[in-house]
Symmetry: C2
DNA sequence: CGTTTGCTTGAGGCTGTTCAATACCGGTGG
DNA sequence: CCACCGGTATTGAACAGCCTCAAGCAAACG
């Protein structure tokens, strides 16, 4: 929960080629300096800490610099839906102006570093550097495409395909390429509960689906490490639209 | 399928107060004239016609001037997911640049009138009138919020709540206010199949859920007309986040 | 080490699907 | 005006997928 006013700033951590963040279009030194000047001190969060809570007033927009964050919507009955697992470079917390309070919560899954940027300062930057508008527009169009795919998955695909879809998405986003590499153990800080909240399944059923994937030699996940065994069969199970694979690979 | 190069243009039909379209920020006569100049001739579509098909190249962005359009993603096995029912004023067909082909299809549910705007011309307009960026950003942030809610609904809510949620959404969007008016028969061109494709249910189960809503005196839909009987109970069943109601009412 | 948290497995039940048969409505052509 | 027709709605019965509940286990953490 502490504050880290010094490095790592936006410059180094949010601009890896495979996870372009907000600063990608701010190439000029002045523009980047302006973005650096606008941001608040970076927040270092321990695992489980909330970046913001559902219902809280929207004050800042955030850039995830390091670690994993989950965006989730909780329901009154205790159920909750994970909307997206965020990786470094992600920008989140944007909202239409009518919306004064967060409809979603954001929670760190690992130790995480986030940069808050006051919403009004971001608006000022947008007007000073129009390239920032292009970037934000691109990010949002991408988010809409991702959300549409998740809607289709939850509405139409059976449990096994939902889990396969999520694993494939993570592998492609983490690896930055499609097809993803086989045989590599990738760190993935997800519990069965989190996977269930993202796929609309119970943790018990997630266990059963993961067992089938393991027994069929498709992929295995254990102790926080995900290993792809058979990329072709995972893709066949997940059956993602071709358009998405490029987006996953390109945008963390 | 014909072309209608004359009225109704963007001016009259897309700017009703309750369904602000692209031109809302283009108040100045020059700006509006520029938008009018950029658009192609309006397309008049018969019911069932495709505005664009899934997999087709992305060439234009569209503004819905009149009628209903469904955005849907089809799966190889014949199932499909309706992502959103569009009402007049909606802008659709935006996509991140990596995406050369539509991941979704758009189909007219009624006779409909749409204005295509070439994507590159829209980009040019954006740079000439920065207010347009604000508007597009707002539209996309709203779309992300809507999509997030649909994800939660499909992932976590049971069948009755899903149907109630959709009916409430339509009533609030059509009426432009919350709570929606009781006792008014609103034209709604949806078949049980379409409702099922939007809620992830079979048409048969949609029938059963609608029967329960009718028997419980909550709402009834028949012969293309939706009548709200008990707003409070519909809201209780649908249980939408407070943030959404304002967005539904404000944005058609 | 003890405690806690998450994982695993099984049995039984509920929700929603599938399949099939019938009724309905709107449009068409005789 | 009426018979016909295609698409849609309705209903029921059997089935399947996923959930609930409960117990036992493994792993992480103080």
């Amino acid at each position: 929960m502490g504050c880290d006013p010094s490095p790592p700033g936006l410059r180094c951590a949010t601009c890896p080629a495979r996870a372009p963040g907000l600063c990608a279009p701010m190439r000029g030194p002045e523009a980047l300096a302006a973005l650096e000047a606008a941001r608040r001190p970076a927040l270092a969060l321990p695992p489980g800490a909330a970046v913001f809570r559902q219902g809280e007033a929207c004050r800042d927009v955030f850039i995830l610099v390091a670690g994993w964050v989950a965006l989730a919507q909780a329901l009154p009955d205790g159920r909750r839906q994970v909307l997206r697992f965020l990786l470094p470079g992600a920008i989140f917390g944007l909202h239409p102006e009518e919306q004064a309070n967060h409809a979603l919560g954001a929670e760190a899954l690992t130790a995480a570093l986030v940069c808050p940027i006051p919403a009004e300062r971001l608006a000022a930057l947008r007007h000073a550097w129009p390239a920032l508008d292009d970037r934000l527009l691109w990010c949002l169009e991408r988010d809409v495409a991702f959300a549409a795919e998740q809607v289709t998955t939850l509405g139409q695909r059976p449990a096994l395909a939902r889990v396969a879809h999520l694993l494939l998405e993570l592998l492609v986003r983490l690896g930055g390429r499609h097809p993803p590499a086989e045989g590599v153990a990738v760190p993935v800080p997800l519990t069965h509960r989190l996977i269930g909240d993202a796929t609309g399944l119970t943790p018990e059923h997630v266990t059963r689906m993961l067992r089938r994937l393991r027994q069929d030699g498709v992929a295995r996940i254990s102790r926080g490490r995900l290993t792809l065994l058979d990329a072709a069969r995972l893709v066949a199970l997940a059956d993602p639209p071709a358009e998405l694979l490029a987006l996953w690979a390109a945008s963390g």
